[in-house]
């Protein structure tokens, strides 16, 4: 991973926005990359935020897992890069 690719964050940073799409906590999701088959916590994927768009990439092969665009009126989501998204119903105890 080249040192100057400083533009990426992790999915945590987008969790507030992604929460608009998912009622279950997306930061605890597990995903499988449809390109390289890697199974990993979504939270460890790379987030490239180009607000109003964001791209989440597999931290193995760097292919796109999902793209999300948000404005005041709409959220657009393309999840084709995921073979699956697994969300847990169990909440952290507050």
């Amino acid at each position: 991973m080249s040192q100057d690719t400083l533009t990426f964050l992790d999915v945590n940073a987008a969790a507030g926005e992604l929460n608009q799409l998912f009622t279950l906590d997306v930061t605890r999701a597990i995903v499988q990359c449809d390109s390289c088959d890697k199974i990993a916590p979504l939270a460890e994927s790379y987030l490239y935020a180009m607000e109003p768009g964001m791209v989440v990439r597999c931290n193995g092969c760097q292919r796109v897992l999902m793209r999300i665009v948000t404005n005041a009126a709409n959220v657009w989501a393309d999840l084709r890069g995921l073979r699956y998204l697994q969300l847990t119903k169990r909440e952290p105890e507050l």
């Binding site: 507030g16 009622t23 460890e44």
Partner: protein, 243 residues
């Protein structure tokens, strides 16, 4: 979890941490509680309706309706100068949260914990430390804190007070304290070897800070033998904070 809504928060007190950093102690009447490591989105709205939002890690252990955020001022930033210089007691902001279920530490965990902070990345880790102290937890905790110089150290007095419970190693990158025999340096394999739990003790590692720092530190942990599944990371972006 349901949809998170924006909640009104008012500033109860302000605490200057360093010349560049300030803690906002917020009262949030509808706060559901939080877990150490979680963050909030903060939304500011100007009188003409313009609004913008930033993410901040929660700095305090769960404490009823109280949420503490430590904000570092980014010069030329849009939000951090307002929060560190302009906002006053009784002023209002909106917050949405708590957010995050991955980069969290909870007292049900019994394994040892290695915390690695780069600059303002200490904030969510401090919530973990404060939680551990508050419940008198027994899990071995260590903190490796990479920081520019002694004046930039967040929560310096508090970390000093609890050092028997949470040993801290400071890695100064620009300037060391007067009288120190060390030279400024960035965290490297030797730092890890002397200042962190060994991989054999299978700690859960939490690494937080600017993206480049987190990449280096996580790589070093993996090279030292830590299982990737036991390394949790949170990246703050190139400037290490929310501008």
């Amino acid at each position: 979890m349901g949809r998170l809504n924006w909640l009104v928060a008012s500033v109860a007190t302000l605490r200057e941490e360093t010349p560049q950093a300030r803690t906002l102690v917020l009262d949030v009447p509808d706060w559901p509680g939080h877990v150490a490591g979680q963050h909030v989105d903060v939304r500011l709205t100007a009188a003409d309706g313009y609004s913008t939002a930033r993410s901040y890690s929660i700095a305090n252990a769960a404490d009823g309706k109280r949420v503490e955020l430590t904000v570092v001022r980014i010069p030329e930033g849009e939000v951090s100068p307002y929060l560190t210089e302009e906002i006053g007691v009784r002023d209002l902001v909106e917050i949405r949260g708590p957010i995050g279920g991955w980069f969290v530490w909870q007292p049900v965990q019994t394994e040892s914990v290695q915390l690695i902070a780069g600059g303002s990345g200490l904030v969510p880790l401090m919530a973990m430390i404060r939680t551990r102290v508050a419940v008198r937890h027994r899990a071995p905790f260590r903190l490796l804190y990479s920081v520019r110089d002694p004046e930039s150290v967040l929560y310096a007095a508090e970390l000093q007070d609890i050092v028997a419970q949470v040993p801290v190693t400071y890695a100064y990158t620009r300037r060391v304290p007067n009288g120190s025999m060390e030279r400024p340096h960035r965290v490297d394999a030797a730092t890890l070897a002397s200042a962190t739990w060994p991989a054999a003790s299978a700690p859960t590692c939490y690494v937080c800070g600017p993206t480049a720092f987190v990449e280096v530190a996580a790589d070093l942990l993996r090279s030292a033998g830590h299982e990737p599944a036991r390394i949790r990371t949170e990246r703050f972006g190139p400037s290490g904070g929310s501008p």
